[in-house]
Amino acid sequence: MFQRFFTELRAARVPVSLKEYLMLIEALEKDAIPSNVTDFYYLSRAALVKDERHLDKFDRVFGHVFKGIENTGEAIEADIPEEWLKALTERFLSEEEKAKIEALGGWEKLMETLKERLEEQKARHEGGNKWIGTGGTSPFGHSGYNPEGIRIGGKGRHGRAVKVWDKREYKNLDDSVELGVRNIKVALRRLRKFARAGAPDELDLDGTIAKSAREGYLDIVLRPERRNAVKVLLLLDVGGSMDSHIELCQELFSAARTEFKHLEFFYFHNCLYESVWKDNRRRSNERTMTWDIMHKYPGDYRVVFVGDATMSPYEITHAGGSVDHWNEEAGALWLQRMTHVYERMVWLNPTSEAHWEGTPSIGVIQKIIGPQRMFPLTIAGLDGAMRELSR
């Protein structure tokens, strides 16, 4: 049973190793844990998962593998507040229907019957459904008394009835989903290349000792401070189809700005053409020629494109294809020139990877810059992109 659990975890790409598996077995052998499924879940989670990004995947696999053996000993408590039901009745039931309730024996009787039903239901399917009686004839359920359908559930039965791992609380810690400024920074840190450059103003202790020993008198050696020497050229697609990704791009931008000392950024629309701009409000009159960029920033700059690459393929492949202006040379040509100047280049795409196949223009751009250079704008994608850039 556990081996299947282990292999399924690995199949779901939760990085568990034999060492962790043995640790879990050891814990079970030492009987660190009572025989309760929830506690077993907590224990195996603590032993097998080492990063909150994998918690959601773990929850899913756990739910899948251990389906059907849950609830050994945990009673399901369904406490439906009486006032709540009453309030609902007041709101939805007509006078006639209320009279019917009276005929059944009034509220107290009704609640009693409901409790009985709940007991029965628990016996019939252990911890199965969330809703109590969605059937037809029962007075408790969505097609009971009320034509509009009063449902029992939700409010009344939260907490224990739903198993902990089914709640999937850690959903947004999965690394293919969430992206925040902080996470982006962590990913961008991969691109650190420290170098000592500039004025020597830091005491080099080891150097001083070595030099003093050699010279026979105290000779102080200074050296420049260590700085992140990576230079980055960030080209961002703005407007049009990018509007829906604007928040993501802002986060990426603010993270990149604080992380790199040498960061230059420019905007373009849909595809790179002969000019780009720095200030979106004055894009019509303050433009920088793309040629100038290629001349000004040498080949050791790392280029990051950010764009959804979603457009008509003609906008890339044909002269005059741009939606904004008449471009003398095709966007594809400009992209090619960039790849010639800058060896290290990636394209971050905020659209989900699943849609890439169905968008021809993405394929076209991948072909121009090289298919391994386009990454989705997720933490995992960013990580890959930084790896590609720091090669």
């Binding site: 660190a32 989670r45 990063d51 902990v164």
Partner: protein
């Protein structure tokens, strides 16, 4: 030795399981979570509950792994020898014990807290692998091995600033303190301020969770901020009524305890302003 939470610290079920497993299997417990969810407090309270002496090792960006073992003060020895101090003859006078050494030689089983391990250099956890695994290390200057008489309970906190190496992770139990749900939060408040007015807590929690729900906050307020805020509200004796979404009030009183960033304050003011416009007049 079992940890069941303390009066001042509300431990969730999963946290208890993780702590107890780590104690029983004598493996380090790595604790992560949003800032302000009580990672460091856990170690302090656990030590109290278990009656174990607490040894705290706070990590900074300049901390080296060897500092946790021992340091050899060569400069001091050189000076002493030039001054003709007799102490200089014995090298052990210049060996300064680190926190791990202290933990290994503690007479009772101690709890060692390695706080904010991610602050240190990327190689830091790797340098401690052997020491944490075998619970022993070798002192070259003294030519002797320091071995733990009893394996200390080790808790390690991390804020996720750097990724920890796999080899290190494999040796630890892991627990992620997720943000407490309202029910747990009430228990936590009750533990900190016994007998606090329920109405005040109700209103304060509503405001607090609303702020957390606001999209785009740079720093979401967490448990410790809520507790600070409640303390302020109580000392200023704020009427719970004023906390209720008052259309004329933009942001909650004493918001400085909750929002730590002027951009967040502005954002929240804007949101509150929008909400006010939507309210029927």
């Amino acid at each position: 030795m079992r940890f069941e939470g303390t009066e001042g610290y509300v431990a969730t079920e999963d946290l208890k399981v993780a702590v107890n497993a780590a104690i029983k299997l004598e493996r380090p417990l790595l604790v992560k979570g949003e800032p302000g969810t009580g990672k460091t407090m856990l170690a302090i309270e656990a030590a109290k509950a278990l009656g174990a002496p607490l040894i705290e090792w706070h990590i900074k960006s300049t901390t080296k792994a060897t500092q946790g073992l021992y340091e050899y003060d060569a400069v001091m020895r050189l000076r002493d020898s030039q001054l003709g101090d007799a102490r200089a003859a014995d090298i052990s006078n210049y060996i300064k014990r680190g926190k791990l050494w202290d933990a290994f030689e503690s007479p009772t089983r101690p709890l060692l807290l390695i706080d904010e391990i991610d602050k240190a250099d990327i190689e830091f956890p790797n340098d401690l692998l052997q020491e944490l695994d075998r619970m022993e290390f070798y002192v070259y200057e003294l030519n002797k091995t320091i071995k733990a008489a009893q394996r200390p309970i080790i808790m390690i906190t991390s804020n996720n600033e750097k990724e920890l190496p796999d080899a290190f992770l494999r040796r630890c139990f892991f627990h992620y303190i997720s943000f407490p749900e309202e029910e747990t939060m009430r228990a936590i408040i009750e533990a900190h301020f016994p007998g606090v007015k329920t109405r005040l807590v109700n209103e304060a929690l509503t405001v607090f969770y609303n702020i957390r729900k606001a999209p785009g906050l740079k720093k979401k307020p967490s448990t410790s901020e809520l507790l600070d805020w409640l303390k302020l509200l109580m000392t200023d004796d704020i009427d719970p009524e004023t906390l209720r979404a008052d259309p004329n009030k933009l942001i909650p009183p004493l918001h400085g305890a909750l929002l730590k960033n002027e951009a967040d304050v502005q954002l929240f003011e804007r949101l509150a302003f929008l909400a006010r416009r939507e309210l029927p007049r």
